[in-house]
Amino acid sequence: MTEHIVSSYDDDLKEISDGVISMGGEVLGALNNIETLLKSNDHELAQKIIKNDLIINDLGQSVENKVFNILASRQPMAIDLRIVFSAVKISLYLERCGDMCKGISNRVLKGDLNEAQSPETISLLVNMCSMVHSNLRIVMEDYSKKECENSVKVWKSDSEIDSLYSEILMDILNSIKTNPDATDALVPLLFIARYLERVGDQATNVAEETYFVVTGEDLEGLEKTEVENETTF
């Protein structure tokens, strides 16, 4: 796409996109830390993740302010309108991701991992965190390049995270059945799995928005099998 006649309009749009990309970077950093946290049960790291959530919230607020100003001053149209509209939605999704990371950290601080004593389940949670991180990284890369091919793949592969979530759920329930005394120690892990599953959902939401920015079409309305045939990038 060529540049605007009014060059400051390009600067304003870039600031909004850059703000969203920065938020994505912070959330990816938080997910990296969560992966380490699940392995290490490091309470200092948990505190750091919680503190980091404030930065994510501030970035989200900043994106919101910039969107407010550009709507009032430029009345964007077509691709510009899609960029601006999607920036609001993606920043909200990322803010929620930050909240999930904070939620996991709070559970760790409560000592959930101390009592869990279930290395297999923790290992599955680490895998899940890694998958979620990978998906979010891919869609944020697409977003920064204003491309959507890989976002569509992520959108289609979200069921893999859901499957892993179900596997963790079954694993925990089976452990509880065989060892009811471990119930109190295992249930908190369900919450952590749920938080990660929701971060995965946010990654697919970002994929949908990126697809909308690039194509002007709604990804959600299409059958997943159709998407492969209909999108040529």
């Binding site: 060529t2 006649i5 009014v6 009345q75 964007p76 149209m77 077509a78 002007g216 079409e217």
Partner: protein, 270 residues
Amino acid sequence: MVDGTENDIKPNGNYSSDNNLLIDCKNVDVFYGDKQALYNVSLGINEKEVTSLIGPSGCGKSTFLRCLNRMNDVIDSCSISGNITINGEDIYNPNIDVVELRSRIGMVFQKPNPFPKSVFDNVAYGPRLHGKIADKDEMSHKVEASLVRAGLWDEIKDRLNEPGTSLSGGQQQRLCIARAIAVDPEIILMDEPCSALDPIATAKIEELIDELKTNYTIVIVTHSMQQAARVSQRTAFFHLGNLIEVGDTENIFRSPENEQTEAYVTGRYG
């Protein structure tokens, strides 16, 4: 790439959104002397809808608008080919009564142009000219009804004998709209009707357009993308005399099919 010389460009989007077609333009070429102003334009305009014509200055949108009521006939060097029908009737048929045609198609211009007459006589001018109303009471009723429809009655009902030119710019433009609708047209053509008005007067005209579309088919030329987005159901983008894209307004401003349309509506054209 449109270079202004091609005559076989097929515009993106749908020529007409449904079968509610009132004005049907096919392969319209317009020349001013040797200079071609419109290239093979085919565009359908639906009844009781607002259609916006957008595009940069000199793209041919006003020329196209003026083809619809044969205003271009008054320019000696102008020649038109192609086919334009309204309700299936060829408006360039040599046997057609142009005065009667124009009574069916009102026009509002960029700059309000009330006649140097009273408010009353401005509105009564058309019905008198076309001999539609002879009775005085009936004429008073017609003037009142037209001013009510134009959203002006309450503001100027006590000033009917004052000169039309004494009204504010926004009131003058609504007076011109009242004058246009006094002859019961089917179609109202508007050529940048708000470009000389302040935001409040513009809002009143836009509100009026919204109300008028229940009874009239409106074609509006505008340079304001936001105005086109607000008031029209269909939008057509012209560039260098070619119709580049036509479609539902929502689609044109959300995700146009053509890159040139996108460049223009986002302010990247140049």
